[in-house]
């Protein structure tokens, strides 16, 4: 059952990720990226990370992608213009990429030949209770630093986005 769940959503994630790369129009890429993020949220649930799954849907598939779609609409971004690429890029691009992915997959299989299997409910430490407890005790300083970072990001975005007043 868990294997079927994993396979279904892994295939959805990979197909949507391929679509992100291949689509010509940015809005199609954005919709495909939402598909990747949604299926990754289901996989997080399978791994017992309930809080992260919820945050993935709310923050990534919600807030960040709304920002992307908003900017795409604001700039009226159309299909991108294809240009001729250099000979080396055309020749070596895809094979090197496949070699990169294959090498990483080989390393992983080599490192984890017979590791523990993942089944639903095998790890319950990712609940909001556990995450919040760790966040406000052991990781309190990084958490507070993060709030400064977000404040800086907000101020930076406003400064970059405002009209020149002089």
């Amino acid at each position: 059952m868990d294997v079927i769940l994993f396979l279904v959503f892994a295939v959805i994630a990979v197909v949507c990720a391929v679509n992100v790369v291949l689509q010509k129009h940015p809005i199609s890429s954005a919709i495909s990226l939402i598909g990747v993020m949604g299926s990754l949220a289901v996989l997080y649930l399978l791994l017992g990370a309930e809080f992260i799954a919820a945050a993935q849907v709310i923050v990534y598939a919600g807030a960040v992608m709304v920002l992307f779609v908003f900017v795409i609409m604001l700039l009226n971004a159309g299909e991108e213009v294809r240009r001729g690429r250099s000979f080396m890029a055309q020749l070596l691009g895809m094979p090197l990429l496949v070699a990169f992915a294959g090498l990483m997959a080989w390393f992983v299989n080599r490192l984890y030949p017979e590791s523990t299997g993942v089944h639903f409910g095998g790890f319950t430490g990712g609940t909001p209770l556990a995450v919040g407890r760790a966040l406000f005790t052991r990781y309190l300083l990084p958490f507070e630093v993060t709030s400064i970072l977000v404040l800086i990001a907000i101020v930076g975005a406003i400064v970059l986005g405002r009209k020149e007043m002089d």
Binding site: V36, L47, V59, I72, A105, V108, V118, V131, V150, I152
Partner: protein, 102 residues
Amino acid sequence: MSEVPIAWFLVLSAVLFALGVAGFLFRRNIITVFMSIELMLNAVNLSFVTFSYQFKQVNGNLYTFFVMVVAAAEAAVGLAIILTVFKNRSTLNIDEVNSMKD
């Protein structure tokens, strides 16, 4: 077999990361390049959560949380930069935004 091997999650993460790299290198639209970066961040998040499951500790989830916060901040600033670039150059093609080259 009712359990998913942990290596499958890591392989999925590797494949998604490679696709993100592909989008980053092949695409010419600056917004799509930015979305490829988000795809790579998501792939790394998946491996963090997987390791969190393997070691039965919550730390991986917290790293994922921090990565999410940084990604959200980065998206806000990055898209503001894209808006400014478009305002000044009225193009989204990264081949034409190359004045630092010469």
